[in-house]
């Protein structure tokens, strides 16, 4: 027969309290190296106490206490490697571009959906007389009819820094939504890609029809390539989640979805700094005539080219930019 519960608790309690103190120290980062030996020993003792409590005192508060103590210790001892600053560097040198290159199928699907939207939007405006009224918002239509570039007024309303942060937060929200709505079996993402494509396509077609194509080009050239790439990448991330939900293959749905979501969010997180950069360009460079159009086009092509060169080559085996080591998480 086991010893009485109160005796068991009073005998072992000092060590449990010592373990709790060490775990608190570990949490606040003040754990000494030598304490680790003690922590290890105390954790094993507490584990065997828990096994004892499970056998002899199930359902008692002592059992629940030990269960909680051991799970805290378990979490502290067996935690996965933490991503710190070194991990961040590795993520951008290797993790992010490699993750994207492994998902070219989804990138292609996302690009296809967005392009389909573009074509449909453009075709409706060009071939259907009332198409523009259907697809292009009224204020935009009025500006185009008056042969005014609506983006020119952007800078007269707010300074470029404010415009840039507005654009940045807005773009981030769109990117997050495009990814997150993949949770609706990918339908939300597909809808956002299509509708954004239709919106852009119809505006481009309307401007081209009204002879304002060059002004529009002047506005979008500098930031367009990278911004559209980021939208398409976050679309790929959303489609990954949707695909995992629909077709988990041999795995359980929950396990596969979890694995794919963690990978997909890397694509979204990876895009964030590029969105910040492009927000600055869209706020400072794109509006107005401060910079000549050919310069904007050159800048846009250069940024787009650099962005895709980075995505295609960074972290490749044997490449200049590649570095050994494993990605975070």
């Amino acid at each position: 027969m086991a010893e009485p519960l109160p005796d068991f608790v009073s005998r072992r309690r000092p060590q449990w309290e010592e373990l709790s103190k060490l775990l608190e120290a570990q949490r606040s980062g003040s754990l000494k190296l030598l304490d680790l030996y003690v922590l290890d020993r105390l954790y094993r003792r507490a584990s065997s106490d828990l096994a004892r409590a499970q056998a002899f005192y199930p359902g008692t508060d002592a059992h629940r206490f030990l269960n909680q103590l051991c799970s805290t210790a378990y979490g502290a001892i067996y935690q996965p490697p933490r991503d710190r600053l070194a991990g961040l560097k590795d993520f951008y040198l290797r993790g992010f571009p490699c993750a994207l290159r492994e998902e070219t199928r989804f990138l292609a699907a996302s690009t296809a959906l967005f392009s389909l939207g573009l074509l449909v939007g453009a075709a409706v405006v060009l071939f259907e007389p009332h198409g523009a009224e259907l697809l292009v918002p009224a204020p935009l239509r009025e500006a185009v009819a008056a042969k005014q570039m609506w983006t020119d007024s952007l800078l007269s309303v707010m300074p470029p820094g404010v415009a840039a942060s507005h654009i940045l937060t807005n773009n981030l929200t769109v990117t997050i939504a495009t990814f997150a709505f993949g949770a609706a079996f990918g339908l939300g993402t597909a809808w956002l890609l299509l509708s954004n494509g239709v919106h852009l396509g119809s505006v481009v077609a309307l401007c081209a029809r009204e002879g304002m194509g060059y002004s529009l080009l002047s506005f979008v050239a500098a930031h367009g390539p990278v911004e559209l790439s980021v939208i398409v990448i976050s679309g790929a991330a959303g489609l990954m989640v949707g695909h995992a939900l629909i077709e988990p293959g041999e795995r359980t749905r929950a396990a596969f979805v979890k694995e794919r979501s963690i990978k997909a969010v890397k694509l979204v997180v990876g895009c964030a700094p590029f969105l910040a950069l492009i927000g600055v360009i869209e706020g400072y460079v794109s509006p107005g005539d401060l910079f000549p159009t050919p310069l904007k086009i050159a800048l846009g092509l250069a940024l787009g080219g650099l962005f895709w060169a980075y995505l295609c080559f960074a972290g490749r085996e044997g490449h200049l930019l590649s570095r050994r080591g494993s990605g975070p998480g």
Partner: protein, 258 residues
């Protein structure tokens, strides 16, 4: 018993070959923690606003006149409270936001480990979907339908919320005033030891005894005495039943004696 053996608990098996069961936080805990967080953010912005107006300034007018840099910071700050607050506090604070800390719940991975950055990012970016169409309807629905009360973001990230309970071990070791009484020790000596569940019951009663209403305390004490003093000679039972103190002292020694 609460906390162990429930269907919802997160069951783990450690390399030490011990099985752990983490109690999962339900919809109530989670909703309250969320409301606390939202109120906190609201409070921060409101206090900031009042401090600003207390200084005799008009916020909207000043906003118009603010320099570009400050406006940009204000916009990014608003964005951060909406999106970054959750992930930043969960990553830096052991899976807890201030609201979660208040309610003693924390985010954990399905394998019991603390959340990493990417898991936290997934579950918090998905708030936008969980919110749909209004007031977290999607999230609440998935919490009701899943066994471990997880919202959509948790399902995608492979995380869930576990409760940290405050468990009082004092009741096992505390020597109450009853021990000073000389009567009981000898009386209990001849009786067989009690199973742990009954010890637990006795200790629960003894530790709550000061907070019970006097007549409820009497009633419970004598009912327990009736059960736990079985096997004692009638004279001793009568002696124990004569006063509340004697009965409680007997129950206490019974719990301690096993």
């Amino acid at each position: 018993m609460r906390g162990t053996g429930l269907q919802t608990d997160l069951a783990l098996s450690t390399p030490e070959r011990v099985s752990l069961a983490l109690p999962v936080a339900g919809i109530g805990y989670r909703s309250i923690a969320y409301l606390v967080d939202v109120l906190l953010l609201l409070l921060v912005w409101t206090v900031a606003f009042f401090l600003y107006t207390l200084a005799g300034r008009d916020l909207l007018e000043d906003y118009e006149g603010m320099s570009g840099l400050w406006k940009a910071l204000a916009i990014i700050g608003a964005f951060a409270t909406q999106w970054l607050y959750w992930t930043a506090s969960e990553v830096l604070w052991n899976g807890q936001t201030p609201g979660k800390r208040l309610l003693r719940i924390r985010v954990a991975r399905e394998d019991g480990a603390p959340t990493g950055f990417f898991e936290s990012a997934v579950r918090n970016l998905c708030r936008v979907v969980d919110f749909l169409p209004v007031a977290y309807a999607t999230g609440l629905l998935t919490m009701l339908l899943t066994r471990q009360h997880r919202r959509l973001g948790d399902l995608l990230a492979g995380t869930l919320l576990v409760r940290e309970e405050k468990i009082d071990l004092d009741k096992y070791t505390r020597s109450g005033a009853v021990e000073a009484l000389p009567v009981p020790g000898a009386a209990a000596a001849g009786l067989p030891p009690l199973p742990p569940a009954e010890v637990e019951l006795l200790l629960a009663f003894l530790s709550r005894r000061p907070t019970l209403a006097p007549e409820a305390r009497r009633r419970l004490a004598f009912r327990m005495l009736e059960h736990f003093a079985q096997g004692l000679p009638d004279s001793e039972r009568a002696a124990l039943g004569s006063s509340l103190e004697a009965a409680e002292a007997f129950l206490h020694s019974r719990a301690q004696g096993g």
